[in-house]
Symmetry: C2
Subunit: 214 residues, 2 copies
């Protein structure tokens, strides 16, 4: 398809597509002659992914380029490729210093991973931003005087594990590894807000079941 | 306790506490004489909540005042009080227009709520920002060419319902309704990032279990 059709199928204006091409977020089309290039389904898929990251996820262009670099690097093992793509996405901010609360939180999260038997997550803990985020949140709660210990986190972690199994099952519906990794990124951008919304809806439902509207 | 002790117990500088007092985010202490006021445990609890909202949740001061207004309004039924406090917190941005995708998403979410039997959430749907957020995300996915239908959302919603039951059980450990509502707000600010982090950790674990590190 031509640029105009790519724009029509994706709903992305041609000027924006040209910008993405210049920024290297979209691979160039197959040049037919000096002024015309041909694009295919893969361009359309990539364009949608870029659009989702920029418009819905508000990911900066440089980050998008970094994420796509991981998506396209098939020299890496799949777990690392998946992780690297997700890890480039926005996370909870880092704490300024390693105070006593952060240290206590580290110990708490380590106990949690042991109780869960999440050997792989433990192995990834030194490089995983998700692990880091969890430590930051647990430390923030401790600093506020709330002890959010492993025993309180455990049932949540088990439900999140079941959620992750659903995620991976959905991912595996896509035939190629590249598509799976693309869908994983979309998932991080769109499924997480969807999950959060479902969670809050469920809280409303349960609150009303327990306390009614009186 | 005096202002200095309140500062020491909370870790919040006295200048910041004075600012919160001026802004009405913290009720005034009991005046002992012209220059000294006395603060109690309730001040400390409120101060921690305000601190969490501003520093961890990055909630603007005017919003904090609005949320606290709902926390303190015991003329409202508990479900509404809980909801109103949570609903003042940041949400997924609203879509600019009610296009065909938003309309289709509305129908999809309505089907989902019917299948789940969430009668109360359905009843709250016209005023609930969580409902609105879910519609926005489903519409965004549709616009990108992904059909995220009720059948795909259903198992996620069921896991989120179990998560919400855990939330409410944890909430009910607190003796007073005011404390429960305060903890619910902290939950929205801190448990949601914690859940997100646990979810990503679980994805890493499951990805490594399925694909290893090769």
């Amino acid at each position: 398809m031509r640029l105009a059709e790519l724009s029509e199928h994706s709903g992305v204006p041609t000027a924006t597509i040209k910008y993405y091409l210049r920024e290297g977020l979209l691979p160039p089309g197959r040049q037919i002659n000096a002024t015309t290039a041909e694009y295919d389904e893969e361009h359309l898929r990539r364009l949608r992914l870029v659009r989702a990251m920029i418009q819905v996820g508000r990911v900066p262009v440089a980050k998008v380029r970094e994420v796509l670099g991981h998506v396209d690097d098939d020299s890496l093992p799949r777990t690392i490729r998946l992780g690297a793509a997700m890890w480039a996405l926005p996370q909870v901010p880092e704490p300024e210093n390693e105070d006593e609360y952060v240290q206590a939180a580290h110990r708490e999260v380590a106990v949690l991973l042991d109780q869960l038997g999440w050997e792989n997550a433990k192995r990834l803990s030194t490089i995983s931003p998700a692990y880091r985020s969890l430590v930051v949140v647990v430390a923030a709660l401790r600093r506020l005087g709330y002890t959010f210990g492993a025993e309180l986190l455990l049932p949540y972690a088990e439900l999140m594990y079941r959620t992750a199994v659903l995620d991976m099952d959905n991912l595996e519906r896509y035939p190629s590894e590249a598509e799976q990794i693309e869908f994983a990124i979309l998932g991080a951008i769109l499924n997480e807000p969807a999950l959060q919304a479902l969670h809050r809806l469920a809280q409303e439902e349960e609150s009303a079941r327990r306390y009614g509207f009186e």
